[in-house]
Assembly symmetry: C2
Homo-oligomer: 294 residues x 2
Amino acid sequence: MGCGAALPASKRNPTAQILESNGRFFLIDCGEGTQSRLRENKLSFEKITDIFISHMHGDHYLGLPGLISSMQLLGRKKRLNLYGPPDLWEVLKLQFRVSKTTITFDFIFHPVESEMLLFEDKKITVSSIKLNHRITCFGFIFKEKPKSRRINGPVVKDLKVPHYLMEGLRNGDDFETSEGDLYANDCLTFSPKKSYSYAFCSDNRIKDSLIEKLEGVSHIYHEATFLDSEKERAKNTYHTTVKEACELAQKVNPELLILGHFSARYEDLKALTTEATAHFDNVVMAEDGKVINF
Amino acid sequence: MGCGAALPASKRNPTAQILESNGRFFLIDCGEGTQSRLRENKLSFEKITDIFISHMHGDHYLGLPGLISSMQLLGRKKRLNLYGPPDLWEVLKLQFRVSKTTITFDFIFHPVESEMLLFEDKKITVSSIKLNHRITCFGFIFKEKPKSRRINGPVVKDLKVPHYLMEGLRNGDDFETSEGDLYANDCLTFSPKKSYSYAFCSDNRIKDSLIEKLEGVSHIYHEATFLDSEKERAKNTYHTTVKEACELAQKVNPELLILGHFSARYEDLKALTTEATAHFDNVVMAEDGKVINF
């Protein structure tokens, strides 16, 4: 929804992303104007089940009170989970109190104060990872769990494998016929579909300890506020340059590195793109409204 | 900058207006996204000297913390005055504290808790007027002071009126020549230019007492959230219909009535415009980005 930094830029809104995974819509950060961006992109507020806020800089959360108020005005009934800094809850409570806003849907706040498992269902987990910024900031890793093996239909049909054993086959069981013939699982099933993962890292001054945390993650979003020519500024403001984000990716080697949070000083993405592709092959620049499928 | 109501609409942003008067730029209300709207309309943040916030509903103030933070990031040095509900200051203080934002320019908060004179310079005054809404809400009246009479150049030159008497002529003095001939002021000057005034009324369920407060105001902005077909809803939510706002104008008779704060249920302004022109002649519908000169 937004790939800009703190100052408004003509074509970039502040940080907000929608991650859709297995039917759930996760909103990650919620800069000012996110509710308008969601509408522009025809994303129903109702679909959002969980919201994750990385830190309390305005360009990452100022769109939240308006979005929640709109959900209330639109008559939301569905539960909404909010994960973020404890201070976020204090700000929202004060704003709702002074505007006499009563939230009547199930709105649950989950404070994020350490690296921990935040969410788990049958298919995915979401965990927080500590980042290194001027104020406390957490990133989030979304991981699909290992998927089941896929039944080889024709083989299983020929062998007349009873239906009640299918779940076992998906989990790796072998199959023994009534005549005592043993069929190994890999004759009966295909390997599972790949499990993807997504790490959201913003805002962050990269530390070596991050490499280990991102190990095995297939898709990494990392902020890249500045060009390397501004690396002193990046260091002083606890941000990252394009080159530095690519160097991290060289070590972690994800399938795709997505860069964003570009400073308003860069009118277009040309120089940023040139620096990125010079230092990592599988890199893409975030743009407002861009959809990345995996 | 925005003529929409609480829920985001495709072409309407929440309330924010810039009033330029005698070189000062007043920002009135500051809904979410106002800093982007200002940028789109090429209005420099630096020019804004005073901000007036009517009440603590999100669609009237949620753009403020982001705008102030951006002013700070842009290195503002100039004094900024903020007039609004005491709760606004509490919200801002909390937001700045948790984001570790330090405002280094001169940022003065003036609580608005009653009908009072908020601002006065040589040319204009700004006063608050109590409105009638679900939470405490104040409107604002901007008034140009009576202007000086304008010197009739050729006449004054012929009579050789000394320069030091000009200010007196502008203020209505007559002129006596050294021969004792008396010239009445209206032979030497033209009548002053008209003094305009602007009332900002949003959000509001109209009470009769408002008529007196708006007496003599040349330009009135009033919210008109609903069509008259939704007048029960307007009543219950402490809002106003287009027809009701026009009926107020019939009694006050301003040169121009400006309507805004249209509910997101109205995709375009057709029906609203039809209802407005049926009930008041000098009426104009606000639109995002529209400029009205007077």
